[in-house]
Structure formats: structure tokens, C-alpha cells
């Protein structure tokens, strides 16, 4: 029934003609216009100097920054979907993680699922019983990623997801992300690590002064 290169698992979308994510003429005063198409289970990598607009692109797609243009998720225009629902499906994981309770546990709506996934990200399950203050930067980064993954987004917007990690943890994160992408999630990976870009993504773009060009 399914044909072509996208004939793998697409649990939430039966229509293979519609890309998982399509960015059309997305621009703001600071960056763009951006045009991108990602199929389900596809990861693209974006590299470029600090301040070139990589985070801006992710924020605009997540609808955190004001932008003109349109973004489509499985063919449905963002402007027709309430913003909270859009952001749940198009999960932006910022480089700097955010915390709003003192303890770690209340940040997770499904604590059991979070504990279960923690070892795969090289995280000790007892981290959930402590305060956020005692977490290292790398632990915060992985816990924030875990939190986003549990929401089961259809698109992941990853802003240097392994920026503060040691090689072991980095390998764990890449494996977990690879699993989600293989399961049908589309991912835009912003990274400074060219090797990581090569491992994770088939297509590679370079951001330069707010413009995106294929590498």
C-alpha cells in the first residue's frame, strides 16, 4: 500500500504525500526566509557560527518568536492549530534548559516513564528525588531532552543537544534520538559537531547571517 522511500513506520500520518514538516517562507526581521521539507523519520543537521541564526530558526518553527510565513505539520498549517498544541507536537529543546520547581520530580508529568527512560540517557534514576540545584549542566540538558521526548512530539527541534556532554553520554543521547527518528519523528539538529551531523543526518545545512544553504 505504501510506496517509495517513506514507506517505513509513520504511526501518526497515513498520507505519504504530505511531508512531516514543511517550512515555507518563514522569516523575521533577524533571519530567513527559510524553506525546508522534512519527511517522517528524517533528520537534518544545521551548523554555523554562534549568532548566525540557528536558534532563531528553531524558535521560529516552534512559534516562540514572531515570524511571517507558514509551517505545516503533516500538511496542516500551523496558523490553524492552537499554539500550545503546536508546541507539544513540534518539540523545541533549547540549549539552555528551563526549570520552574525546586525539585526535579514535579517537572515530569509521567515520573515512572521518565525513570524508565533515564538509564538510556546515562542518567541515574535517583536524580529525580533531588533538587534541580544539585544537577550538573549535562544532567539538566539530558533531563530536559527526556522531558520533551516523553511528550512524544512528531518533530524535534534540537539546539545543541549534546553541547555539555561527555563522550559516553553523547553516544547515549545520539542512540535515543536515533530511535525516535527511526520511529517516524522528524528532527532539525543544530550542532557544532560536524561528526555528529554526519552520524545523525543525511542532509546538512549551513547557517550564515540568517540564511540557510545546503552544505
Amino acid at each position: 500500500m505504501l510506496k517509495g522511500p517513506k514507506a517505513h513506520a509513520e504511526p501518526m500520518n497515513n498520507d505519504t504525500d504530505r511531508p512531516r514538516l514543511r517550512v515555507a517562507g518563514l522569516r523575521s526581521r533577524l533571519a530567513g526566509p527559510f524553506d525546508l521539507t522534512l519527511g517522517a523519520g528524517e533528520c537534518i543537521a544545521v551548523t554555523g557560527a554562534s549568532g548566525s541564526g540557528k536558534s532563531l530558526l528553531l524558535r521560529m518553527v516552534a512559534d516562540l518568536d514572531v515570524a511571517e510565513g507558514e509551517v505545516f505539520l503533516d500538511g496542516i498549517a500551523r496558523s490553524t492549530i492552537p499554539a500550545p498544541a503546536w508546541r507539544r507536537d513540534v518539540g523545541y529543546v533549547a540549549a539552555e534548559s528551563g526549570w520552574w520547581h525546586e525539585a526535579v520530580a514535579p517537572h515530569f508529568s509521567d515520573l515512572a516513564a521518565a525513570r524508565a527512560l533515564a538509564p538510556a540517557l546515562n542518567l541515574k534514576p535517583d536524580l529525580f528525588d533531588g533538587p534541580v540545584l544539585r544537577l550538573s549542566t549535562g544532567e539538566k540538558q539530558r533531563l530536559a531532552l527526556l522531558r520533551s521526548l516523553l511528550a512524544k512530539p512528531r518533530v524535534l527541534l534540537l539546539d545543541e543537544p549534546t553541547g555539555a556532554l561527555d563522550p559516553d553520554s553523547k553516544a547515549c543521547v545520539e542512540t535515543v534520538l536515533g530511535g525516535h527518528i527511526a520511529g517516524g519523528c522528524a528532527a532539525v539538529l543544530v550542532t557544532h559537531d560536524a561528526d555528529q551531523a554526519a552520524r545523525m543526518a543525511r542532509r546538512h545545512f549551513i547557517m550564515n547571517s540568517g540564511r540557510l544553504t545546503p552544505a
Partner: protein, 266 residues
């Protein structure tokens, strides 16, 4: 009324020596406050003398439009104070419109309530009652409103990552800001709670002290003070509510984004 002690200019001049003492302290310890102190003291004297003269005239006129105009000027000045205190400013005069709405609403509702149901002078808008009452409520309201506004604006800047992390998990702006809105409202309401708890033990409130000094029976003065405290806490509550609700609206948009681009450092 019992005969009262009358103050003359030489009496005030003796008290003014204390300001000179403060200036000396500032110079001795290098606090760099002596200029500000002198300017503030001078402003205080001129402003109070001026308002004394104006109030005498206005009371004599007994004209509702004039009374209204005086209260309006007070409200606008109060709104400006609310607007300029916070370190962060909402663009397009956001702080001013938020401050004006909060101060005008809270002062208006509380004053009119007190004048028409509790104090009931005849007529209820008589200047001798309306202006001082609005003034004392206004002073308290602007304090509560400016603290709440400052707390909210600085907390959203500080907690940007936390707010946006919640938005990215599918939270609404209301959910993502709930904790900060509560903290800002608490910040605005704490002073009035403190002053209620402390009054009579730690402090003798200024109005009451003034009345007792002019010879009024302490129990009568106390009753007025109790009424005032209730009015002040009501005014503070209303102003904090309006400030937080309006400022939060400025900080977000139809797509529930955190619009920190609408804030500039003041």
C-alpha cells in the same frame, strides 16, 4: 476639641537640623547621599506647603469639578510613580497605561465605596473628605502596584527559560506564568499585611498619630485607622490584580509567545 499645640516656623527649623545631621552622616561615611537628601527635603517642604495652600482653596471652593480635577492629577502622578519604579519597561508606554489603569481603578473603587457607604459626608464627594481619603489610598495603592509590576517584569526576564520550557511542553501562557503572577501579587500585598500586623505594636500609623497630636480622642483615632487599614488592603488587592492581569497581557500575544521584545531596560 481640646486646644492643640501649634507649630511655628522656628519649631520646624529645629526639626530640620536632623536633616543636616543626615547630610553629615552621608559626608562622613562617603554615602554620596547628601545632595539627594537636600533635594528631597526641599521638595518635601515645597510640595507640602503647596498642597496645604491648594487644599485650603479647594475646600473653600467646594466645587465637584475642581475636586475631581485635583484627584485626577493625584492619580496621574501616582500612575507615573508606578510606571517608573520597575527596572524593566513595557514598550509603547505600557508601564504608564498599566499603572494608570491599576491606580485609577483601585483608588476610585475603594474611595467611592468608603465615601458612599461608611463615611457618608454630605454630599458624599465633599472635597474635605474625598481628597485626603483618595490621597492616602492612592499612596498605598501605588506602592502595591509598583512592587507587583517590578516583581512581575523582572521575574519574566529572569525566568525566560523556565516559561518557554513549559510552553514547549504544550503549556498555555497562563499555566506557564501562573507561579510568577502569584509571586508578583504576593510581593504587592506583603507591605499592607506587614503594616496591619505591626500597627499599634511596632508602629503608630501616621494618620492616627497626627489625629492624636491634634487632640482627638485615641479611641476615635483608632477607629479611623482601622477603617483606613481595611480600605488600604482592599485598594492594594485591587491594584495588584489589575497590574498583574494587564502586564501579563502585554507580555504575551495571540500565539501565547513570551514577548520579551516588548520589554526594555528602564
Amino acid at each position: 476639641m481640646k486646644p492643640t499645640l501649634v507649630l511655628d516656623a522656628p519649631d520646624l527649623a529645629i526639626a530640620a537640623l536632623l536633616i543636616v545631621l543626615d547630610g553629615g552622616i552621608s559626608l562622613a561615611f562617603g554615602l554620596g547621599l547628601h545632595r539627594q537628601l537636600a533635594v528631597a527635603a526641599l521638595r518635601m517642604v515645597v510640595q507640602l506647603l503647596l498642597i496645604g495652600v491648594i487644599l485650603t482653596r479647594v475646600f473653600a471652593l467646594a466645587s465637584p469639578p475642581v475636586t475631581m480635577a485635583v484627584i485626577l492629577v493625584m492619580v496621574v502622578v501616582g500612575a507615573r510613580e508606578v510606571a517608573v519604579r520597575p527596572e524593566q519597561r513595557l514598550i509603547r508606554f505600557g508601564n504608564y497605561t498599566v499603572g494608570l489603569a491599576a491606580v485609577a481603578f483601585a483608588t476610585g473603587v475603594t474611595s467611592i465605596l468608603a465615601l458612599t457607604t461608611v463615611l457618608r459626608p454630605d454630599p458624599w464627594y465633599e472635597a474635605r473628605y474625598a481628597i485626603p481619603l483618595a490621597g492616602i489610598i492612592l499612596g498605598n495603592v501605588l506602592n502595591a502596584a509598583s512592587l507587583a509590576l517590578d516583581a512581575l517584569l523582572s521575574s519574566v526576564v529572569r525566568e525566560k527559560a523556565a516559561i518557554e520550557a513549559q510552553l514547549c511542553l504544550g503549556a498555555t501562557m497562563r499555566q506557564a506564568m501562573a507561579g510568577l503572577l502569584r509571586a508578583a501579587m504576593r510581593r504587592g500585598l506583603l507591605p499592607v499585611i506587614n503594616s496591619m500586623s505591626a500597627s499599634g505594636i511596632v508602629t503608630l500609623p501616621g494618620i492616627m498619630t497626627g489625629q492624636i497630636l491634634t487632640g482627638i480622642d485615641p479611641i476615635e483615632a483608632v477607629k479611623y485607622q482601622i477603617l483606613l487599614m481595611f480600605l488600604l488592603s482592599g485598594g492594594a488587592g485591587l491594584s495588584v490584580l489589575v497590574v498583574v492581569a494587564l502586564a501579563a497581557r502585554h507580555l504575551t500575544d495571540g500565539r501565547q509567545r513570551l514577548r520579551l521584545d516588548r520589554l526594555v531596560a528602564g
